[in-house]
Point group: C2
Chain length 214, copies 2
């Protein structure tokens, strides 16, 4: 089973964004010691239809068994593999302010298939220090660092005002993926550059809307 990951040519963004949710739910079932689960039961717990679950999984392989359902641990492993939790994507963090700090100190990168090797900042107050064992280097040295080290993703935890120019600078020396925390829509002429955005302000605005129009 799952010997051929990726059965469909085009997997929609919506499906991909549901995968982490499945992974969390299955992890929870594992912790609760539940061995098997049907699409029906899983759907009931997650508030989605059994049909959708079976459709989603079928994009990636055949993980179930008629009359039985899914083996929880096995399915969790499969989805984990699809998401790449067993990978070791290398990341650096640009901006060692409060948010960069928070990520370096608390975020479980390795659980999600990533590792952080260093942070960069422009402030002399933090340059040369270590945060949770990771060195903080001067931003001026980032090009040299990138020429000497493999970096798969750059997290941007910098002010909005320098977001695009910083991205441009990094793209110019080969960076092709960003985890973008600035509430700015970054653009690149290179279609191979990936941006994954976490827009705090956008999120809060939608919450404000829903509060007001409840």
């Amino acid at each position: 089973m799952g010997e051929n990951i990726l059965r469909k040519e085009k997997i929609s963004d919506a499906v991909i964004r549901r995968l982490p949710r499945y992974y969390r739910q299955l992890t929870d079932l594992c912790v609760r010691g539940i061995v098997r689960v049907s699409s029906r039961t899983l759907g009931d717990e997650m508030g989605i239809t059994a049909s959708q679950i079976r459709q989603d999984f079928s994009c990636f392989g055949e993980f179930g068994q008629q009359g039985y359902g899914y083996h929880v641990e096995e399915l969790r492993t499969e989805i984990g593999r699809i998401l790449g939790v067993d990978q070791n994507h290398r990341m650096i963090i640009i901006g060692a302010g409060h948010l960069g700090h928070a990520l370096l100190r608390n975020f479980p990168f390795s659980q999600n298939g990533f590792s952080v090797d260093a942070a960069f900042d422009v402030s002399p107050a933090v340059i040369g220090s270590y945060i949770n064992g990771k060195p903080v280097y001067a931003m001026s040295g980032v090009e040299e660092y990138l020429s000497e080290n493999i970096v798969d993703v750059v997290a941007l935890t910098i002010p909005q005002s320098v977001a695009q120019e910083t991205a441009d600078r990094l793209i110019a020396v080969g960076v092709r993926a960003f985890w973008n925390f600035t509430n700015v829509e970054l653009v690149s002429t290179n279609p191979n550059v990936i941006f994954e955005n976490i827009h705090f302000a956008d999120s809060l605005l939608t919450l404000g809307y829903r509060i007001a129009h409840r």
Copy 2:
């Protein structure tokens, strides 16, 4: 124009989530000194169709003018009003760790229609201190605080392990909206409780997926 906000009964989540993006783009146009814009031009800049823009706006009113397009500043004001940037939703932050700190120090709450009045934590190390002028109180006093103060939203920047129990505790004393930074799917039996999630891990997993399947 816009005298009757909310023309459709049901506005889809997708539309609402695009509004902050429109608002940002229009703010940008304002800054650039651009006075009028057509749906075509706006769409080209944002990478979406003119049709979608006109459909989206038409959910809330008639903001344009045939042959002219939209007055940028006026449209920005209208969308800002729909999103409630002129509101003053009251927020408290539960968890004054690195992420809570980051929000208290850097996030432009008032620009987004919110204000933060206080933070709460269980750690004696921060209880009694002030962060960016906001008091940090003991978590044990949160029920009393909520009985004496209006709180529209609670931001949760606490460990996953205590997320649901903390939410339950707050819902029990009347909290009806959460800005949830724990990577946990919070639930409530009360259908009036709103959860707006920022799931860092889910976001990073989808980025990992896209890197691997590029």
